[in-house]
Subunit: 289 residues, 2 copies
């Protein structure tokens, strides 16, 4: 089965468990809306690619890890779009969850997606439950306090934000968790993989800043210009357009170099380079070429 | 160590992990505010009492299970108090989290508390990681979709709520998870304990409905009269004041009878009866006596 099919099947199974008789149907519909159609599913693809590079001897567990990081990413999107944060009416070109289902169900959908991530891990360990504590710990570090994406979002409510911890937590943390979870699910040491996650996380943050500053909303599938409007730290504000674009290219090169020597290294390098092409706003890539 | 000390120490250790350099300090403060001072800590006390009745051979794991259910309960209080739900400015006699820290940090505090619950479990399995899948599964069932407290809250946003699933999910589910988690943490079969959790969950829902209808806000530590104002299903609306009070007494008797024969049964019966006295609004108990 391709990685794409594995990821979609694991997410579909998770959301189907919420769509049973006796469950509140509008919350179930909100969960499906938050998950499908997906974006590029970058984090779960990375997770599975690292698991494959490490032998992937428990594919049910690596599928669960991949689905868990995507569920947690989608939870953060649902909550970040709320009126008290980005107040975004659209996401991935469709109405955001609160725009479609109201604010109460958007809060609850985010909560339910977080719980689903841990539920799917608990169901998928099979005989490999000795890997569960490490997997849970890696994933909670990427999501919660003090350094995960929840902490990253919280820095935007601090009167005096620390820019380094903010950027590492806001995007990098879940990328690091994605690659490390892929290694742990395959019973490998996650430490050689962390650098790849960190560089990719930084690259995504710069790409997101570029998209926010220079895309239009139709390209982006969500409102743009939010960083400047909300006075958030941004690579574009710091380095300018060209500087941010060059930084993105450097980070992608660093990410490619950070891939440890392993059986699947070649495929992984291709995956990272392909993502980099997808990341750069098209007109910037053309003008740089 | 007493159960109270074990619970407070486990929660203190969890929140201290969020209060480190490099973490957003206002979110860390919001987490402490959400957890301390606590309410009666009924769910973690139940969890530890059941673990004790089952031998409690891994006290670090039962402490973690008890703290996890309390963290998840507090997360639900923080989110339920938000303006889009109960819009409660007070909780346990102090400002609610969003009243004290703003809505963005209240959303994030709830999210972080959910993640902390799973983090604490991942840290505390020791050599008993074979118990983790069951523990995680029990706890996610009590919290998430389709039957946990998130589903219970979501029923209030449904145009046509199912009253039975609503009440079971809104309160009962986390009580069932609390008793079952206590058993699993001590390597015992959780199934004989579920009835106790269900009866106690129902008793708490009726007590909460009575408090909402007939307490004043100072006694209760939070706004009252919300069920009638929001037209929510309530035992008081259904059975009247006296009927709801009698129902509470019946449920407590049923809960006491549901305690399985075991070494700690006597202590558990006393714990349940003591909670029942605490539960009934004082002037109702006096007028019934």
């Amino acid at each position: 089965m391709t990685a794409t099919l594995r990821i979609e099947a694991a997410l579909e199974a998770a959301v189907a468990r919420a769509e049973v008789s006796g469950a509140p149907p509008r919350l179930a519909a909100a969960l499906r809306h938050a998950l499908f159609p997906g974006g590029a599913r970058v984090r779960p693809h990375l997770c599975l690619a690292v698991a494959a590079a490490c032998g992937d001897d428990q594919p049910m567990l690596s599928d669960a890890a991949a689905a868990a990081v995507e569920l947690l990413h989608c939870a953060s999107l649902v909550h970040d779009d709320l009126p008290c944060f980005d107040d975004a009416a659209t996401r991935r070109g469709q109405p955001s969850v609160h725009a479609a289902f109201g604010e109460p169900l958007a809060v609850l959908a985010g909560d339910a997606l977080i719980v689903m991530a841990f539920d799917i891990l608990s169901r998928s360990a099979g005989g490999a439950y000795a890997r569960l504590p490490g997997l849970l710990n890696t994933i909670t570090r990427g999501v919660g306090m003090p350094t995960g994406i929840v902490a990253g979002q919280a820095w935007e409510s601090e009167p005096d934000p620390m820019v380094g911890p903010y950027h590492r937590a806001k995007t990098g943390a879940l990328f690091v968790a994605s690659v490390a979870a892929g290694a742990i699910a395959a019973d490998a040491d996650p430490s050689p993989w962390r650098d790849l996650g960190e560089r990719l996380g930084e690259a995504y943050q710069v790409a997101d800043d570029l998209a926010d500053a220079f895309s239009d909303a139709a390209d982006c599938g969500k409102p743009v210009g939010r960083d400047a409007a909300l006075n958030r730290p941004s690579a574009v504000a710091e380095l300018g357009l060209r500087g941010a674009y060059d930084r993105l290219q450097d980070l992608v090169r660093d990410a490619v170099s950070a891939i440890p020597d392993c059986k699947g290294a070649k495929g992984l390098r291709e995956l990272v380079r392909a993502q980099a092409v997808r990341l750069a706003p098209k007109h910037l890539a053309q003008s740089a070429a």
